[in-house]
Subunit: 206 residues, 2 copies
């Protein structure tokens, strides 16, 4: 029997895990209208962290809607269940010491607050980032022609057109994506993470 | 604009992520009867990996049934949905380069095969570990008195008593938990991971 196998009964605590891996997890929750720049910012942030050797993982429509949440539609109940599952998975990632990054419209304040509460109860930081651009700007961008279709009534319950978007009242970070570059947006998030002590200043250039 | 922020459009590929973080993810899927020793083995394996500085994360009843899957019951459809969601989440963890460890009875061969296929399609290794102890042994152990209750008809559809357990036909690893110690079981898994090149031999003592 090898003496080098170390274990004790029960789960590894959050702080024990953080000490062993020398890193802390948290969830960075992007919210904003379609075409507000959430995914672009989230992608750039994830890459920046990975290039600094910091494990991070992005949950977005591509890997969630066609996987975990493929059995959900777009009605109100399914939208809430969509965000609930994403919140739970982000929390698991953050608990594992990964920096989880979510990029979903997540239009309802209550759903985002539930996500925040879930993290707070587990002692895991939750950072809400508002990717904010005025409706006229995102309608102008409209890379997939979705706003056009929504206005023509071809898409029902489209956030900002025929369904509400409840803007965050006190997000940890507010990025006006029509006023700053992607690089500046990412820098603002990184600065926040360093200032809060979530990532070590010497791990990443600011 | 900082030149040190590096990013490109689109997602980071699996191999790029593995190169940046110098680690590879995979899923280690424990299956076996209640009280077969799945959770004990999974816990000891997770701790051994963490103590070697290798990020791993265990999905089990405690963090899944009361979180992500708290809206599922124990009927056939809900059992399948339970395992489906766990498969999807394990795959996400493995995709992020974490070693995901799942510890659920997962009695149906088809559900486990679906989990395997999901991983294979994503190019992520899937290691099925059969925590195997004869029914008479687990009935004897019965730490929570569940077998007793099941036999008395107080619990319906209990795996091994009133619901089937379909043993793996070709698991990557087969551990007779009534014949080997926890340490020996963990060593067998670690040896497999090293032999397959999933973790570096110099990272962990065998």
């Amino acid at each position: 029997m090898a003496s080098n196998i170390t274990w004790h009964a029960g789960s590894v605590s959050l702080t024990e895990r953080q000490d062993l891996l020398k890193q802390k997890g948290l969830t960075i929750w992007f919210t904003g209208l379609s075409a507000s720049g959430k995914s672009t910012l989230a992608t750039a942030l994830e890459q920046t962290l990975l290039h600094a050797g910091i494990i991070s993982y992005r949950l977005d429509g591509d890997n969630i809607r066609f996987g975990l949440n493929k059995n959900l539609g777009f009605g109100p109940d399914d939208r809430t269940e969509n965000i609930r599952r994403i919140s739970e998975v982000a929390k698991l990632f953050a608990d594992s010491t990964v920096i989880a990054i979510t990029a979903f419209i997540s239009p309802y304040r209550q759903d985002r607050d539930t996500a925040r509460q879930l993290h707070q109860e587990a002692g895991i930081p939750f950072v809400e980032v508002f990717a904010d651009a005025p409706l006229e700007v995102v309608e102008q961008r409209d890379p997939k022609g979705l706003y056009k279709k929504a206005k023509a009534g071809e898409i029902k319950e489209f956030t900002g057109i025929s369904a509400p978007y409840e803007a965050p009242e006190k997000p940890e970070i507010h990025i006006r994506t029509d006023q700053v570059s992607v690089e500046e947006g990412v820098k603002a998030v990184i600065k926040y993470l360093v200032d809060q002590g979530y990532i070590a200043a010497d791990k990443i250039k600011q």
